[in-house]
């Protein structure tokens, strides 16, 4: 996938992953693995950026004698997902338009 496009999508993917239920770093990566590949060193700056922007909050929970950091989505983060879904409709229209063009070409040849 085009890196620019992937960059934009990853933020939303992470927000969506934690919007289902509060989640922690390793679980986010595993949950997203089927949809989009993301390494911890890519995820970490995204989490920090989103937290800094107030799109998510974090809290620590004790687990097996160590701390596990959980992330939960904020109203601002939810709004980002909704905005993404709205703008995606436009992308779908473009996709349909491009597909039509390819179909026409296939018919002609």
């Amino acid at each position: 996938m085009d890196p620019q496009l992937k960059r934009g999508l990853l933020d939303i993917c992470v927000l969506s992953a934690i919007s289902r239920e509060d989640s922690y770093g390793y679980k986010i990566i595993k949950d997203l693995a089927d949809v989009i590949e993301i390494s911890e060193s890519t995820l970490y700056p995204i989490l920090r950026r989103l937290e800094g922007a107030g799109s998510l909050r974090s809290y620590s929970v004790e687990h097996n004698g160590r701390l596990r950091k959980f992330y939960s989505i904020t109203p601002k983060g939810k709004k980002m997902i909704i905005e993404f879904l709205e703008s995606w409709q436009q992308v779908e229209e473009i996709h349909r338009y491009i597909l039509e063009g390819e179909d026409d070409k296939a018919k002609l040849s």
Binding site: Y26, E40, S41, T42, Y44, P45, R66, L67, R68, K69
Partner: protein, 196 residues
């Protein structure tokens, strides 16, 4: 590599940041290793599947604003050697400094130029369109002249739109340029740390 090795290598790359920030960064990666250990991997396997500590640190540093990245350098006490070196290297760093200053002023000039260009185009084309329409209006009885003037007005609108689109395209390219330059510039400060 062991978990401790991984975290130490990362800590080295992050040196110069506030200690509590470094600990927060390392805590995330320690958690990542611990999660894998709990799944039954060995420390070797866990650090093997993860990105190299230097790469991970670089990604963290790339997110920092440039001034913070530069301030990361430890403040060394200046002795006579440093002062002497500064004076001796003046022929090198003064032109370098002027070059950077010139580039910044140039960039600002380019922005002013673009704004001025757009304003000039709109004023110029706007004036021409008004003049053509005015000519068309007062020579309504003279059909060829009326058509010529109206046509010219439409033509001017077209030229204006074309130029505005071209300008818009150029601006997009220029707007993306600083981001590339900054990424590259930050790399210098990050790389320098690795080799120390």
């Amino acid at each position: 590599m062991t978990k401790q090795n991984y975290l130490e290598r990362m800590r080295k790359c992050l040196e110069g940041l506030p200690p509590e920030e470094i600990e927060a960064h390392l805590a995330f990666y320690e958690e990542m290793i611990d999660e894998r250990l709990e799944e039954g991997m060995s420390e070797e396997e866990a650090t093997e599947v993860m990105e190299e500590p230097e790469k991970a640190a670089e990604k963290i540093l790339q997110e920092l604003p440039l001034p913070r990245l530069m301030r990361r350098e430890p403040d060394k006490k200046w002795g006579w050697k440093e002062y002497l070196l500064t004076v001796l290297l003046a022929p090198f760093w003064i032109p370098m400094f002027l070059l950077v200053l010139g580039l910044i002023i140039g960039m600002l000039g380019m922005i002013v130029g673009i704004l001025g260009g757009v304003a000039g185009m709109i004023v110029g084309a706007g004036g021409a369109i008004t003049a053509f329409l005015y000519t068309a209006f007062i020579h309504m009885a003279n059909l060829p002249l009326f058509l010529l003037a109206t046509g010219s007005a439409v033509f001017s609108v077209g030229i204006l739109l074309l130029l505005l689109i071209m300008f818009y395209r150029c601006t997009i390219i220029f707007a993306d340029l600083p981001r590339h330059i900054i990424t590259w510039f930050k790399k210098i400060f990050i790389r320098r740390r690795y080799h120390q």
